[in-house]
């Protein structure tokens, strides 16, 4: 190294001016970056437009460095907030009665306990058990249960509509439906105890499913034959994503009634149920147009 440069380095240190980094460059002119705007109508690029015809995944959103543009960040945060709000919502007292249901509670005492103790959400409280025994018809073909599950928002939005549609679809197949009940802080397996108590051949719980990004409004339906405590997931059949922008309630109801009928006919449910004999109505992979992702921030 140059003697003079060493000398000046030492002098700089001695003068207390030894800034460890070089002076910043002159401040440049900073124009706004090219717009990369998230849009639910992806007219910006041919790829984004084509992709949006097939998927709701956020594709073609570009990048800033390796990160997201500000519009994308805000849309993403809004979708996350919607999901969290749906999880945090609780079914109000009186909702069941106001909608013509017998209101049932589980052994869960608080929302946090509901999230942490699925075992308590699978069992009726003593009061609810007494209520059920006192007010519900026994020995029916299908016992329907509407419940909050992980989205009270979805339950309140579509629960009543789906319940009534399934009841009609069952009636059309000649299946008797039990007294309408609605449960709060309920998990899927609660249908076992309720079905056991009412002596139903099939129990079917319609409950808010775990929200996804921007979607807190989906319901799932779980159906089990010969409901009783001790049934496992393998004993159940299910349909998910039931809401206006997913599987519409009327379409879901037709499939659910077909499932219930098949269970009663085959005297089983879950992995041992032969779905092949049901045809398209019970599920299959029918084409469904992707949900349109809604812009949540701004106009």
């Amino acid at each position: 190294m140059s003697r003079t440069r060493q000398l000046m380095t030492a002098l700089r240190a001695q003068l207390g001016a030894s800034d460890p980094q070089p002076a910043p460059p002159p401040v440049p002119a900073i124009p706004p970056p090219p717009a990369r705007v998230y849009s639910p109508r992806p007219e910006r690029s041919a790829f984004a437009a084509e992709a949006a015809r097939h998927t709701t995944a956020l594709l073609g959103i570009g990048h800033v460095g390796t990160r997201y543009a500000t519009d994308v960040v805000l849309q993403f945060q809004a979708e996350l907030a919607v999901a969290h709000a749906a999880v945090g919502a609780e079914l109000p007292d009186g909702w069941a009665a106001a909608n013509g249901f017998v209101g049932l509670t589980t052994r869960v005492a608080s929302h946090r306990e509901f999230l942490l103790r699925p075992d308590l959400g699978r069992r009726l409280s003593d009061a609810a058990l007494a209520e059920l025994r006192a007010r519900c018809t026994k020995g029916v073909d299908v016992q329907l249960i509407v419940a909050d599950g992980l989205s009270a928002v979805a339950c309140m939005a579509t629960g009543k509509q789906l319940h009534d549609a399934v009841a009609r679809a069952c009636g059309a197949r000649g299946l008797g439906v039990g007294t309408p009940v609605a449960a709060r802080f309920a998990r899927v397996w609660l249908e076992d105890e309720i079905g056991q108590e009412t002596g139903a051949k099939v129990a079917m719980i319609l409950l808010g499913e775990r929200p996804g990004l921007g979607t807190g409004d989906g319901l799932s339906a779980y159906v089990v034959y010969d409901p009783k405590l001790g049934k496992t997931d393998g004993d159940r059949n299910m349909i998910s994503n039931i809401h206006a922008r997913g599987t519409p309630p009327d379409e879901a109801a037709a499939r659910l009634a077909a499932l219930a009928a098949a269970m009663i006919e085959q005297r089983t449910s879950g992995v041992t149920l032969d779905l092949g004999r049901l045809g398209e109505v019970a599920g299959g992979r029918g084409y469904r147009a992707p949900q349109v992702r809604q812009r949540l921030v701004g106009g």
């Binding site: 097939h54 073609g60 959103i61 969290h84 942490l116 499913e209 929200p211 996804g212 990004l213 393998g234």
Partner: protein
């Protein structure tokens, strides 16, 4: 064997090794749910003090599920490498922890002793370790595997591209996969969780992805994560299959609930050795996650960390190309919040690596767990620093089928730049040739889906 300890004059005693292991765990909602957790922080430390003085030999003699009751215990015991075990069996868990952390204990040495460890030993060490301890040892372990790609080399961070679709629309899957590749993601695998668990659907998706990889000469692997029996049927249909997938749990009973067994996995592996479409030799892909055994009441009263280690014990029999914990997917009843999910991720990575697995992690949360996006991003940095082999990658980290939040297409290049990591060498060269990634920075076609036809 001493199962009691004294803290500030108070005597704590424990019923069994299994009880000690459970109560030594950092707080997890799943252990509370199972009713096996320590009642407070002091009892937790008392359990750790007992655990620190147990020898690895004593752990071997007291598996958390008895030999007679569980095939996984029998595999671990019967297939243990006697010579490797003899080298470490005399150490207490406390000494074992210190030996793992010693600078002199290197990656190659850890590889040599891995076959002498039962899962319970890895879990026990885990319980005495802080996050930095777990990261330090995790980063030391060297597990290199190969299919079409060579995964797990030093200085590398790979990713699974996960272009899931709620109805398996192959055009939607393709669009997402192409974009992922254009962001430099997918060197571990292009892996799709199918919405429909049928052989025909599995074969259809595999063919489409196979075409994509061939058309663009992408050096990676494909996999459709249907049930192993479904994939075996798909293979019989004559479709290409680079990797075969299955979810694993840590007890025989829990695996029965998953519809699998040792003999079934043996058959699947044999079939892949015959029909798998990569260079190999590693051909299997497994996912695990703390809490899955408890969710089917198949945990035998053991804690979820130890049970998770036992799933790795099963996985290692099949020399997998990929193993990852899906750490935040199971929900808050098992891992309540950000700190619990983050701790579990580091634990799982450490235990898997220590047992010789090419351990990746699906760092994620469901929307009913209390974890923020910032916490999740921090966890990815911790995992990257701990030498995690791969993470996931999806558009904005949002799985539109499984409804949870994971790693994004944008996160992988961000992490590589932050941590000075590169993708697998084969994939790195491909990215360079395509102009997607050059050295340590985005190339001219970064994020441009036209770079992938």
């Amino acid at each position: 064997m001493q199962l009691g300890s004294t803290i500030r004059g108070v005597r704590y005693t424990f019923a069994s090794v299994k009880d000690v292991l459970a109560k030594a765990n950092p707080p997890k909602s799943g252990d509370d749910l199972a009713g096996i957790a320590a009642r407070d922080a002091v009892e937790r430390v008392a359990a750790r003090a007992v655990l620190a003085d147990l020898t690895l030999r004593e752990l071997r003699e007291h598996p958390v599920v008895p030999y007679e009751q569980d095939a996984l215990t029998r595999y671990a015991e019967d297939e243990l490498d006697a010579q490797a075990f003899a080298a470490i069996g005399h150490l207490t868990v406390g000494q074992f922890r210190e030996w793992l952390l010693d600078i002199e204990t290197t990656g190659p040495t850890l590889r040599a002793i891995a076959p002498g460890l039962t899962p319970e030993m890895a879990a026990a060490a885990c319980k005495l370790m802080s996050s930095f301890d777990l990261m330090t040892v995790g980063a030391k372990c060297q597990v290199v595997v190969r299919a079409n790609n060579t995964l797990g080399l030093p200085g590398r961070l790979s990713s699974r591209c996960q272009p899931n679709h709620p109805t398996d629309d192959v055009e939607g899957i393709l669009a997402s996969a192409r974009e992922g590749l254009a962001y430099g993601c997918g060197d571990a695998v292009i892996g799709i969780n199918p919405a429909t668990d049928t052989a025909a659907s599995t074969a259809e998706i595999l063919r489409v992805i196979d075409d994509l990889l061939r058309r663009n000469e992408v050096p990676t692997q494909h996999c459709v994560l249907s049930h192993v029996t479904v994939q075996m049927k798909a293979l019989a249909l004559g479709c290409p299959m680079d990797l075969m997938f299955q979810s694993l749990a840590g007890t025989e009973a829990a695996n029965t609930a998953f519809g699998i067994s040792g003999p079934l996995l043996d058959d699947a592996w044999a079939l892949m050795k015959e029909r798998g479409t990569t260079r190999g030799p590693n051909r299997m892909y497994f996912e695990t996650g703390q809490g899955s055994a408890l969710s089917s009441a198949a945990h035998h009263g053991a804690d979820q960390v130890t049970i998770e280690a036992r799933a790795y014990g099963l996985a290692r029999r099949y020399k997998p190309f990929l193993v990852n914990t899906v750490v935040g997917f199971i929900g808050p009843e098992y891992l309540e919040d950000g700190p619990q999910i983050s701790r579990a991720a580091l634990e799982d990575h450490f235990m898997g690596k220590l047992l010789g697995l090419p351990m990746g992690c699906d760092a994620c949360f469901t929307y009913h767990a209390r974890m923020t996006q910032d916490e999740l991003e921090s966890l990815k940095v911790l995992l990257g620093a701990a030498g995690c082999t791969y993470l996931m990658s999806l558009p904005v980290g949002d799985d539109i089928m499984l409804n949870y939040q994971s790693t994004s297409y944008h996160d992988i290049p961000t992490l590589r730049r932050l941590l000075g990591k590169r993708p697998t060498p084969e994939f790195d060269a491909w990215l360079d040739a395509r102009g997607i990634w050059r050295d340590d920075a985005p190339g001219p076609r970064f994020g441009d889906v036209a770079a992938v036809r």
